[in-house]
Symmetry: C2
Subunit: 131 residues, 2 copies
DNA sequence: CGGTATCCGTGCAGATACTG
DNA sequence: CAGTATCTGCACGGATACCG
């Protein structure tokens, strides 16, 4: 379309082989764009954080969902969990290099949506006025 | 982090006001990154398509989910539905300018994941070998 | 502090059948 | 051709309680 070089996905889309159930990319995309995954990525982009810090910065998330989200992202190699054998316990979460790239990509998408919200609302209003 | 200029979202994340339930951006992100939303965007990026064409190019999608996905994206102003009063019926779907931008952003994310799959798999393998 | 276990309600997605 | 209607299951997420 606006780009002259074909993106790899386009080829696969045309052959109906993109993002099939057997491809891990679907699962990774799911984790990265999940309700809390986006927020975890953006908060961790600020730097290493503890569990309770993450919980405080991400308003409204339960311990369960934070734990699950962190496990999913750790499983994808997006972040690293480091547990220190101390009392009281301390656990720190850090983005891997892969995770830092992931955070950039997700931020790019989320930022675009954020700044485009007025246009989305305008489009909605136009459809109401002249359907 | 790697960028020097603060993205708008970062500010909001720190104040816990990002992507709250009342913000339409969450819903738009959901539609754009949903299982079928991604594929619809990428197929429509090729140009205007009919319902049955979309169904054929996106392997495995049911009529119900294609219909629902198209309605959601139309509701966001991402695509336009044009119905021609003929027999047999003909309906065409076209990305709006907003939708074309959306498709580019989603492609950028999806392409990155796609080309990064080997690195994701490598990260997984490393954790298995040295947990 | 940093979690896990369990229960449970809601909503999304699939299958199937029918329609203008 | 281009959908809608209905049923249904099961995964996702919230609340609660408990543990190292």
């Amino acid at each position: 379309m606006t780009k002259n070089n074909r993106p790899p996905l386009t080829q696969l889309v045309q052959r109906g082989e993109l993002m099939s159930a057997d491809c891990p990319s679907r699962e990774i995309l799911l984790h990265m764009t999940s309700r809390w995954g986006v927020l975890v990525l953006m908060v961790l982009a600020e730097g290493t954080q503890r569990f309770s810090t993450l919980r405080r910065k991400i308003g409204g998330i339960s311990e369960r969902m934070l734990s699950h989200t962190l496990q999913a992202l750790e499983g994808d190699g997006i972040l690293q969990r480091v547990s220190y054998p101390e009392v009281p316990p301390r656990v720190e979460y850090t983005l891997t290099p892969l995770g830092q790239e992931a955070a950039e990509k997700v931020s790019a998408l989320a930022d675009w949506i954020e700044v485009s919200v007025p246009r989305f609302l305008q489009a909605r209003a136009d459809r109401v006025r002249k359907p």
